[in-house]
């Protein structure tokens, strides 16, 4: 019992500074807008009604959800080969590769996004090398476009996808792939029928994590999306710190979270079905 009481500070920290505030935010989303302060005294459903009927909010919500979807899929495509390569490395090579993957993870999102600003500048290294290779004639304008936001988000979340997939791949006994090969399976067949299904325990949580985090990402769209492209997180922060309409901001945040959870639930249901069919 004495030992369990050691958890009190941590539980208090999480409860007081996370659970209570988020519950509080739900309450805030039903408050009326205030005339003298950021919120009023009465309660209303009007903010949700407004968000659900206004095409402006729908468009931004959809853009956020779809962008995150694209980021998740691209992230998987980029991460899988890296995870594969990492899972086979041993010794000093493995240490170096882990460091290579961990260093971006340990460097702030803002710093990494700033790096992309330099790389994709009009006379930056990306444009210069594409022109030198003869792929394009004119420099590409990437800064403040949705393309760059997606590219930078993929970069931010690659480690979140590589590490779980790497763990799953490391848990596949080599004997299994040998068995498949000795039964006459081609490399492609072995990959599709043995490796891919067995790496699913890493792919699934990786995809969920990347999706949830990239829907709510604020820094990247704010820095690289510019004023032209707005996403839900930038809109929410603008409502909270720009126009000081706290109830509307909370309602937007809750709408965003609810739709994200809905998509995660649908995705989970679909993949379960797919896995069952694969097993059958």
């Amino acid at each position: 019992m004495l030992r369990l009481s050691l958890a009190i500070p941590a539980v208090a920290l999480i409860f007081v500074f996370m659970i209570l505030p988020i519950t509080n935010m739900v309450e805030m989303s039903f408050r009326t807008l205030g005339t003298t302060g950021p919120f009023g005294d009465d309660y209303t459903m009007a903010h949700y009604g407004r968000i659900l009927t206004d095409g402006y909010y729908w468009a931004i919500l959809l853009r956020s959800l779809m962008t995150a979807g694209a980021v998740t899929v691209l992230c998987l495509i980029v991460s899988y080969p890296i995870a594969w390569h990492l899972s086979r490395a041993t010794g000093l090579k493995a240490v170096l590769l882990y460091a290579l993957i961990a260093s971006p993870l340990m460097t702030g999102v803002l710093v990494r996004n700033f790096g992309w600003m330099i790389v994709t500048a009009l006379n930056g290294p990306l444009n210069e090398s594409l022109i030198a290779l003869g792929i394009i004639d004119m420099p590409l304008r990437l800064l403040f476009t949705q393309t760059l936001v997606i590219l930078a988000l993929v970069h931010v979340f690659v480690p979140f996808m590589v590490l779980p997939i790497n763990n799953a791949l490391r848990n596949i006994p080599p004997a299994l792939t040998e068995a498949a090969a000795s039964m006459g399976a081609t490399r492609a067949q072995t990959f599709r029928n043995v490796i891919l299904p067995l790496s699913f325990p890493g792919i699934y949580p990786g995809m969920i994590l990347v999706y949830v985090l990239s829907v709510a990402a604020f820094v990247t769209p704010a820095l690289l999306g510019g004023q032209m492209v707005s996403y839900m997180p930038t809109l929410i922060v603008a409502e909270l710190t720009g126009t000081y309409r706290w109830p509307l901001g909370s309602a937007l945040a809750i709408t965003l979270s609810a739709s994200t959870l809905l998509i995660v639930a649908i995705f989970t249901a679909l993949t379960w079905k797919l896995m069952e069919r694969a097993r059958a």
Partner: protein, 270 residues
């Protein structure tokens, strides 16, 4: 490279193509960091990569900018307090977590890592209203609490992993020799988990140093953290000074990763 490589590691075009792809992907990962570091040493007047010549003028410029230096000092202070508090609380929580058995232990783990699983934006919005409610809005204390909350899971996960490596028999032996719980902890457990504790502290420090969204919403009056100052700087002036500031922050992270590698090995860290 053993039998495992037999799937992609074959001969010819396919494996050459795969090697090329891997190199391209690693370049993608490291590219933004390399360009920032390179651009910070330019002797030219613009942010560019490859840099023109070599000079340390932008570092000098950085340390002459009061707003950026103030941001750096504030970030360092907040991150240091965060590392200290989170490791103490995390060691206590991890010891308690060990004593929880069965299904509850999984829920406890999830609860302790909640700040990692819930997007930073949501927590930040909730905290913004809550800190106002308890009169800590726009104060350094409020911001500090936000940083401690967001960095706690890093410390907790590291300490828990370290504690799992300690065989329970050691603790039994110690108490059978008449040591009190505190003595067992201080003389047996703590020395054994120290690398994990240090690693948790380093991760918490780095995470706090880089936090942006929480810092933006909880920003105290008249105070900026380095990421906030850097964002403002980038919006108005796109000069190599920013690259120098970012390089300092990269070096801090690299140092952190290197220390972790020395202490426990990166493979064990993830």
């Amino acid at each position: 490279m053993s039998e495992r490589s037999s799937i992609f590691g074959g001969q010819g075009v396919a494996s050459f193509g795969f090697a090329l792809l891997i190199v391209a992907l690693y370049v993608f990962l490291i590219m933004p960091l390399i360009t920032i570091i390179g651009a910070s040493f330019t002797s030219g007047l613009m942010i560019e990569f490859p840099p023109q010549g070599f000079s340390l003028q932008w570092y000098r410029e950085f340390f002459n900018r009061q707003d950026l230096v103030d941001g750096l000092l504030m970030s360092l202070r907040i991150a240091a307090i965060t590392a200290l508090v989170t490791t103490v609380v995390a060691v206590m929580a991890a010891l308690a977590g060990q004593a929880i058995g069965g299904r509850l232990s999984g829920w406890f783990q999830i609860g302790m890592t909640l700040p990692l699983l819930v997007p930073e934006l949501l927590t930040a919005v909730g905290l913004l209203f809550f800190l106002y409610k308890i009169d800590l809005g726009k104060t350094v204390t409020g911001l500090q609490m936000g940083h401690i909350l967001m960095s706690f899971p890093y410390a907790y996960v590291s300490v828990t992993a370290a504690l799992r490596q300690v065989p329970p028999s050691l603790e039994e032996a110690s108490s059978s020799m008449g040591a009190t719980g505190w003595q067992t902890f201080r003389l047996v457990i703590l020395p054994l988990i120290m690398p994990g504790v240090a690693m948790g502290g380093i991760f918490a420090f780095i995470n706090s140093f880089d936090l942006y969204t929480v810092s933006l919403l909880l920003k105290p009056l008249g105070g900026n953290t380095l990421p906030l100052a850097l964002f403002d700087f980038l919006t108005y002036e796109f000069k190599p000074t920013a690259a120098a500031a970012a390089t300092i922050s990269i070096l801090l992270s690299v140092a952190g990763v290197a220390i972790v590698q020395r202490l426990v090995g990166l493979q064990r860290a993830f």
